[in-house]
């Protein structure tokens, strides 16, 4: 199973989308790259920013700003976080990667206690660390990978 497993200490990559801080399990992250030229894909889902050339592989890049309804002003801090799930690779655009954090299992609040409704589907939980709140994402659900 992918996603963040609750109950034990995990390492997460923390990044920003808009003003929100998010985290994903480090094991799902393949690499973090600077924003390359992105080729728009006509007629694709609107959350798809386009495709990039990652060392000879063409991979889709998702725009979560649109998904989360926040505005995006990509600046020098912006990065693409590339995920790999089995055969499928995909990237998301983030406004900056802050750090890799260790979060204790008991510092994670399960999603359904915090959020309700559809949005909670791809939110695994909320991590509390030194007064910050980190929304832990279930990338498989978010990107529609089974």
């Amino acid at each position: 199973m992918g996603g963040v497993t609750l109950g034990q200490e995990i390492q997460v990559v923390a990044f920003k989308i808009g003003s929100g801080e998010y985290g994903v399990d480090i094991l799902e992250v393949q690499e973090i790259i600077k924003v390359l030229s992105i080729t728009r894909v006509p007629r694709a889902d609107r959350f798809i920013e386009g495709v990039i050339n990652l060392r000879g592989n063409v991979i889709p890049v998702f725009n979560l700003h649109k998904r989360f309804g926040v505005s995006s002003e990509l600046d020098g801090e912006a990065r693409i976080v590339v995920f790999q799930f089995e055969e499928t690779k995909a990237g998301i655009i983030v406004d900056g990667v802050s750090e890799v954090l260790r979060i204790e299992g008991d510092a994670i609040e399960e999603a359904d206690k915090v959020y309700h409704g559809l949005e909670a589907d791809f939110i695994q939980g909320v991590g509390k660390i030194e007064g910050r709140l980190l929304i832990l994402l279930n990338m498989r659900k978010l990107l529609g990978i089974n």
Binding site: T39, R43, A44, N57, V58, I59, P60, E87
Partner: protein
């Protein structure tokens, strides 16, 4: 010795399948021409090889069935069982059973009880008439393994490799053998490479053979054999009264004997006598002794090519690497263009040539003759025709046409479907045909040929043709089109309904086809291979299904165009031409932009609008149009500018972006950027 056989399983399965294909093919040939002994011999050899392989692998059920088949085939060869349709049918059912067994072995399923078939085979054997030498000689004279050993005139026993020098004495013995109705056999024995006491094995073989007969000649000499001075095989000529099979079994039962071949030598003493000089008996016995029982005589030799089996995955990797190389070559070319450095450009030119050659070679390596797919069809058509009670001649043309391996793997099912359609719905019953003044035997033709960068495969039948009215009615009934609209449609458009899901005009649903899963599946399969399918038909005269497929799926020629600041690639295979028109030539027909090109009206579509790029006013008066083909129709795509033709490597967009209409994939350009490859078929 207990060797783990599992590592050989793949090879076994692969080779067995090849033999089965060969068997099916040859059996069909035999059915058409029951006197074809060379065909029968080939069947015998394949069956024999299968037997050997399966028993080595420990698949007793298979070994047992092939053994009984071999018995029957051997009797057929000797003319004791006449080749007729019942015999052929039994053999066909044996082949089917073997196929089933192979599948079971592959899936690790249990063995099968073949006693039913074995019983039938046995019944055929019992119904044989007593052996008569005349009969046998007559049969042999045809084309048995070593039929013309004694070629008339020179008294030579042909077939290369190991020479048997026969002296006066030997000839006398042979003559005597003939007089006493004894048989002469050529025997080749191969001992295991790891056999320790070869001389002992030789002794045992001799003992087994000499119990009932006489060995008149050996190679190497008897003395050398006694002392074990030979490689792995030895050869001898044996005179006795037993059947070849019995002799072979005796030798086989000796341990450490890997294989034995026993073949009768037809004796034609007269011709031998004519040449007083000791005739030479040349015997082929190559290293592959067990699989390739010797015998492939002069005229119709099946040349065995030197081949290497390679995992297709490795080829895919190689192809990917070459793809990378092509991309980087493109980048280098671009750098070279900017640098104006002579030496650099020289090297780049060289590189380009080498890359092109390399690419061609790799593509060729991946190409396999379509024969692989076509080979199973004659059998299928035969069975189907029988089942349906129709008479059909099936003609295959162009089976050496080569296609990319990936295409080959996918094209089988659609073709099966089209052939079944042709037989089931196309070809009429014999009575109907004769009533309509056609020959009672229908004709189904399957052809493949290259044309440019495409391969065309056609399935033609001379049956009743498509019923336009029935299709119209059905389309209306299914609500695909209104009765008013349907009247306005032309033939092509009406035929297109056949490719809609769930569309079948067959009145009767037979076991064969017409169950509603059909041409739509064929069409989508072919489109997924970047191909197209068309249909044409003349009532009463027949139907033709035409499939166009790209030669390869990996690297294609493409036209690069600019649309709204973005670069797109159009496969050259779907581009007929490019042209420039002035704005004033644009016309409107019912709110559809068109242009008249050489007297033909060409509908235009705006790439910007289709692709949703920002619309802006064209400043200049010229409009660039790519004339593309969609099915059999032409269509003008208006683009901002034409960048030129280039070889591109097709990259998949992956699962997450699959199925976007109009986008066939992506490619990486010389500057490292990604461009999308447009699919004209689904773009508009």
């Amino acid at each position: 010795m207990n060797v783990d056989m599992s590592q050989y399983l793949d090879v076994f399965l692969e080779e067995s399948k090849e033999h089965l294909t060969n068997l099916n093919e040859k059996l069909l040939e035999l059915e058409r021409n029951t006197d074809n002994l060379s065909c029968l011999n080939e069947i015998f050899r394949s069956a024999h090889t299968l037997k050997g392989m399966s028993s080595t692998m420990g698949f007793d059920d298979m070994a047992d069935l092939t053994h009984h088949m071999e018995d029957m085939l051997s009797d057929m060869k000797e003319g004791m069982i006449r080749v007729d349709s019942s015999v052929i049918d039994v053999l066909f059912s044996c082949l089917d059973r073997l196929q089933l067994m192979l599948t079971n072995i592959q899936n690790g399923q249990p063995k099968i009880d073949n006693s039913d078939l074995v019983t039938i085979l046995g019944q055929f054997k019992q119904g044989t008439y007593p052996e008569s030498l005349e009969n046998k000689d007559a049969a042999m004279a045809g084309a048995s393994p070593a039929p013309d050993l004694f070629a008339p005139g020179n008294g030579l026993i042909r077939e290369p490799d190991i020479p048997f020098e026969l002296n006066e004495y030997d000839l006398t013995v042979l003559k005597e053998a003939k007089a006493r109705d004894l048989k002469v056999y050529y025997v080749a024995v191969k001992v295991r490479p790891d056999c320790l006491m070869k001389s002992v094995r030789v002794f045992m073989v001799f003992k087994a053979l000499e119990a009932d007969g006489e060995i008149i000649k050996t190679i190497p000499s008897a003395q050398d054999l006694d002392e074990g001075r030979f490689e792995e095989e030895f050869h001898l000529i044996l005179v006795n009264h037993l059947e070849a099979e019995i002799i072979r079994q005796r030798i086989d039962s000796i341990s450490e004997v890997e294989a034995a071949v026993v073949r009768p030598i037809p004796i034609d003493i007269d011709s031998v006598e004519e040449t007083a000089q000791g005739p030479q008996l040349d015997k082929p016995l190559n290293q592959k002794l067990p699989t390739n029982a010797p015998a492939d005589e002069g005229i119709k030799t099946h040349k065995v090519k030197q081949t290497v089996r390679v995992d297709i995955e490795k080829l895919d990797n190689l192809m990917n690497l070459v793809g990378e190389l092509v991309i980087n070559k493109g980048r280098l070319e671009q750098i070279g263009l900017n640098q104006h450095h002579t030496d650099l450009n020289d090297v780049i030119e060289q590189m380009e040539r080498i890359t092109n050659d390399l690419q061609n070679v790799v593509m060729k390596v991946r190409m396999v003759p379509i024969e692989q797919v076509f080979n199973r069809f004659p059998r299928m058509v035969r069975d189907l025709a029988k089942e349906l009670g129709k008479e059909v001649d099936f003609i295959i043309e162009g089976k050496d046409t080569e296609l990319d391996r990936t295409v080959i793997d996918e094209i089988g099912d659609p073709l099966v479907h089209l052939l079944r359609n042709a037989l089931d719905h196309g070809i009429e019953y014999p009575q109907v045909r004769s009533r309509r003044g056609k020959p009672t035997t229908g004709l189904v033709r399957l052809t493949a040929r290259h044309e440019g960068n495409n391969v065309f495969i056609e399935v033609t039948d001379d049956g009743m043709g498509l019923d336009l009215e029935a299709i119209r009615a059905k389309a209306v009934e299914k609500g695909l089109v209104s009765p008013q609209e349907v009247a306005a449609l032309n033939e092509g458009q009406i035929y297109d309904f056949l490719f809609r899901p769930g569309f079948s005009t067959a009145q009767n649903i037979t076991d064969v086809s017409g169950r509603g899963v059909g041409l739509d599946v064929v069409k989508s399969k072919i489109e997924s291979l970047n191909g197209e399918i068309f249909v044409d038909s003349k009532p009463g005269e027949g139907t033709i299904f035409k499939i166009r497929l790209p030669l390869t799926l990996a690297i294609i020629q493409a036209l690069l165009v600019k649309v709204g600041g973005e670069t797109y690639a159009l496969p050259l295979s779907s581009v007929d031409e490019t042209t420039m028109i002035s704005k004033s030539e644009l016309k409107m027909v019912q709110s559809q932009e068109v242009v008249v090109l050489r007297g033909k009206v060409l509908p235009l579509v705006r790439a910007r609008r289709l692709l949703g790029t920002p619309e802006s006013e064209e400043s200049n008066d010229v409009i660039y149009v790519v004339v593309a083909r969609k099915g059999e129709k032409q269509l003008g795509i208006v683009v901002d500018s034409l960048l030129g033709q280039q070889e591109i490597v097709i990259k998949s967009l992956g699962k997450l972006l699959a199925g976007i209409p109009g986008v066939a994939g992506a490619t990486i350009l010389g500057d490292g950027g990604v461009s999308l490859i447009l699919d004209v078929g689904t773009l508009v």
